[in-house]
């Protein structure tokens, strides 16, 4: 599964300037009172290939701090990860990292 049309975006005049594509993007998962904690960890392992320990640590960060930056990198890949996390119904947002 991937975000389709990501290549088309480069020629889309409505898109943001090229510079915003070059900036790293954060994938952020937010806490919700419904989703099971073990499910969140499992999804992190499945989507990112993180170790169980890292997945658990990030899950606990989401649980205790209300949100966690679970991945940072190129916009297209960040969108792909956000889409995969939302496919599992984790509350996920994207943000460009300020230069």
């Amino acid at each position: 599964m991937r975000v389709r049309g990501a290549t088309k975006e480069k020629s889309d005049t409505k898109s943001k300037p090229e510079t915003s594509l070059a900036l790293p993007w954060n994938v952020i998962v937010h806490d919700d009172p419904v989703t099971l904690m073990t499910y969140v960890s499992k999804v992190f392992v499945q989507v990112f290939g993180y170790s169980s320990e890292k997945a658990h640590r990030l899950m606990m960060e989401v649980h205790k701090q209300g949100r966690s930056i679970v991945w940072t990198g190129a916009r297209e890949q960040a969108e792909m990860y956000a889409q995969k996390l939302q496919a599992h119904h984790l509350l996920t947002t994207l943000e460009a990292v300020d230069a």
Partner: protein
């Protein structure tokens, strides 16, 4: 409800009519057009309006297709519910190959029930049940049933292997 681990997957047995009704509601919740449900299952993702529009145009349609296909898979499995002997209760096999889809579907349905019934983090707490309205209490019972099934599929609850599924079928 009891659970057994068979060669083909997990069997959920002794499902009451209320439990079956809850399960049959899962695909409908995933397909719901309710704005609150759509707002949670397809949430606003970017702060910037242009970025959000890009997200809605490119990522959301594929997510919608995925949720519909998942709802169809769950519906197909529910169509194989078997009646238990001398009882109105039923038996459901969730094949191993469908575990991931079921886990996500159950999560989506639980989130949908949460937003549709104006539940809060407080009502989700163990002592929150008594503070909830009767309608919310019914939703909470459904949410907890689906969570129990998720826990089984996640392997959080240990279930002893029980051989092939055929051994559970008494025609």
């Amino acid at each position: 409800m009891w659970v057994a681990r068979v060669d083909e997957g997990y069997v959920f047995g002794d499902l009451s009519p209320a439990s079956v009704e809850t399960l049959k509601g899962v695909p409908m919740l995933l397909e719901s057009a309710d704005a609150r449900v759509r707002g949670r299952l397809l949430p606003d993702t970017c702060d910037d309006a242009v970025d959000e529009e890009h997200w809605r145009r490119h990522a959301v349609p594929e997510l919608e297709r995925l949720f519909l296909s998942r709802a169809q898979l769950v519906r197909r499995d529910l169509a194989t519910l078997r009646k238990m002997p001398k009882s109105e209760h039923k038996l459901l096999l969730i094949p191993d190959g469908h575990t991931s889809a079921w886990l996500a579907a159950l999560n989506g349905a639980r989130l949908a029930l949460y937003v549709m019934n104006d539940l809060t983090a407080e009502t989700m707490e163990p002592d929150g049940f008594v503070k909830a309205t009767p309608k919310q209490q019914e939703a909470l019972l459904r949410i907890h049933l689906l969570a129990e099934m998720q826990s089984v599929l996640l392997g959080d609850l240990e279930v002893e292997p029980s051989g092939p599924f055929d051994e559970f079928i008494i025609e």
